[in-house]
């Protein structure tokens, strides 16, 4: 168990290093001069040179990279090229907002998908299962931002039950916060649920065919009992993988949803930085998102070890 855990941590660290190199290389090596990009073509050469010096862009790339990583590790990534304000607090602020959105969306997706998918698997030969199956197929085809627009059209513009957009921190006004959270979280969650349902279905279908489920029934458990006690934990392994992978999709989906609902999250920060040509900010936000994805993948691996005792064995 410990060996496995150490192994996974090593993989996580290696992945973090490699992806940071990718992000850095991409942003620093390819595009030419970030200072020039930040200041625009019309800027004078002296101004550009000054900015380069200020941000250490004139130093060797290795040094630049190490400085950048040091900034990330110490949670002090320095200042933005454009606004000259510290990047750290901004990212932390925005990250909070996005996390609310993503976590709520994911929880909603699970609440919808796990029972639905299980039902679809158990009834996979009956009309009810097939109808649910078809519905999920349609759900998968609807992009989250389209779901968002539709939800706004119906519940905000049409019925006027909920605000069409905006964001209020929970500490400031919990009720308004919840009201504004519902529609964006639903847009993310519903689409996610459609996808997840299909994976839950196929995982449960696989488990339903397992011999140990027949053993459980031979013991005198009813089919539902057997599925709940012996099936779900085993079906969880593939579902958790998908959950992990989809958290990445959800994070990126949040970028678009934030745009639809005018929410000041990480996605809005990223998009604004791109349009402001604030490359260091873009680099940091992209790295944060990549880090989040890798961290989730690591957690998925750890959850495996908890769910499936077979994987705890040291040797492969």
């Amino acid at each position: 168990m410990i060996v496995r855990l150490v192994q996974r941590i090593a993989i996580l660290l290696a992945s973090l290093v490699v992806s940071s190199v990718i992000v850095f290389a991409f942003m620093a090596v390819l595009p030419g001069d970030p200072a020039r990009v930040a200041l625009g073509v019309s800027a004078s050469d002296t101004a550009v040179a000054q900015l380069r010096e200020q941000f250490g862009l004139d130093r060797p790339l290795v040094v630049q990279y190490l400085n950048w990583v040091q900034g990330l590790v110490t949670f002090d990534p320095g200042n933005s090229y454009i606004s000259q304000t510290p990047i750290g607090p901004q990212i932390a602020d925005r990250l909070q907002v996005t996390l609310w959105l993503v976590v709520t969306g994911m929880v909603l997706a699970c609440i919808l998908a796990i029972p639905m998918g299980t039902l679809m698997a158990v009834r996979h030969r009956r009309p009810s299962g097939l109808i649910l199956s078809a519905l999920s197929q349609v759900g998968v085809a609807v992009p989250a931002f389209l779901a968002g627009i539709l939800l706004i059209t119906v519940f905000a513009v049409g019925l006027g039950w909920l605000p069409a957009n905006g964001w209020t921190p929970p500490a400031q006004d919990p009720v308004l916060f919840l009201k504004q959270l519902v529609l964006p979280a639903l847009s993310l969650g519903m689409v996610q649920a459609a996808m997840l349902t299909r994976y839950v279905r196929s995982a449960v279908l696989d488990v339903l065919r397992e011999d140990y489920l027949r053993t459980a029934r031979a013991k005198g458990l009813r089919p539902t009992q057997a599925l709940l006690r012996h099936g779900l934990r085993n079906a969880a392994v593939p579902v958790v993988t998908v959950l992990g992978l989809h958290l990445a999709t959800l994070l990126v989906g949040a970028v678009v949803i934030e745009r639809v609902f005018v929410i000041p999250g990480l996605g809005s920060l990223l998009l604004d930085s791109v349009s402001n040509r604030d490359l260091i900010m873009v680099q940091d936000v992209v790295m944060i998102i990549a880090m989040a994805v890798l961290l989730v993948n690591f957690l998925v691996d750890v959850i495996y070890l908890v769910i499936d005792p077979r994987l705890r064995v040291g040797a492969s």
Binding site: A141, P143, F145, V252, V282
Partner: protein, 292 residues
């Protein structure tokens, strides 16, 4: 005899076709039909559109659907139906290039990773997994930040982000093919890895490639729509379903239909490619019939 034998007995006792479930055969049909319609729209747009889709006409702003303007006009007076027709071209173009990039890199990568020594294959797959940390949208935004937004940037970004899907699937298929007796026989006969890869592995994983291409197309359509919606995709004036949606957002209260038409177009196209992929999967591998 146990579960296995029993199932074999059941399978052999049932006439062919009885066991194949209708909805699965249907998914191939419906998916193929939808994809053909999208393809037809794109082809049609080369020879005919009811109006010039990019023509701004201030005197015909926000027209309701009519005989003249089948789906109405947008806030600039452009014909929505014509834009949809032209938009299908963008969608298909982006899909083709993105899937092409992904398959061109992902398939050889998967085959090499499946044929190489185990440790090297694992290493390649670890690197491959790393790409998963950069979803299409994120890559496209990164690219756009550096090179500026554009169709090419979007296509390449979506393509690169789709590589891991191909590579992983093809590696799995390759590992299976490598265990078959004809490959072992070919290796025993002294055939080089290149010949085996080309002659035995590639033809046998080609059905996987086709299925993944269809599913990848759906992903590409979704990603293109999202990128255009954010303004990182196809630049105006070239019509794009995603941008039509974005432009409709400020008119939601007065003209929700402007969101509905491109929305339906995107959803139906994605549905079509997904169904086609599912149907092809079942066609190629009936053992998987009940899944997904």
């Amino acid at each position: 005899m146990s579960a296995l034998d029993t199932e074999a007995a059941v399978a052999s006792a049932v006439p062919d076709g009885r066991r194949r479930r209708r909805p699965m055969a249907g998914s191939l049909l419906v998916g193929g039909l939808i994809v053909s319609v999208v393809l037809g729209m794109a082809l049609l747009s080369f020879v005919w559109t009811p109006h010039d889709p990019t023509l701004v006409n201030p005197s015909a702003r926000l027209e309701k659907p009519s005989l003249e303007y089948w789906f109405g006009t947008d806030k600039f007076g452009r014909d929505v139906f014509s834009q949809l027709l032209m938009g299908s071209r963008t969608t298909l173009f982006v899909g083709f290039v993105a899937v092409g990039v992904a398959a061109l890199v992902g398939v050889p990568l998967g085959i090499v990773a499946g044929m190489a020594p185990r440790w090297f294959g694992e290493l390649l797959m670890r690197g491959n997994d790393l790409l998963l940390a950069f979803p299409a949208l994120l890559l496209a935004i990164m690219f756009a930040a550096v090179y500026g937004a554009g169709t090419l940037v979007a296509m390449v970004a979506i393509g690169i982000a789709s590589i891991p899907n191909f590579a992983r699937l093809i590696r799995g298929g390759t590992l299976q093919v490598m265990k078959t007796e004809y490959v072992i026989a070919a290796r025993a006969a002294g055939r080089g890895p290149f010949a085996i890869g080309l002659r035995h592995v590639l033809p046998n994983v080609s059905s996987l490639v086709i299925v993944q291409a269809s599913v990848g197309f759906a992903i590409a359509v979704l990603a293109e729509a999202a990128l255009s919606f954010l303004g990182f995709g196809t630049p105006p004036p070239t019509p794009s379903w995603g941008r039509m949606l974005q432009e409709s957002q400020e008119m939601l209260s007065s003209a929700p239909r402007l969101a509905v038409f491109p929305g339906i177009a995107i959803a139906v196209a994605v549905l079509g490619f997904n169904l086609l992929g599912d149907g092809l999967r079942d066609r190629f591998d009936p053992k998987l019939e009940d899944r997904r």
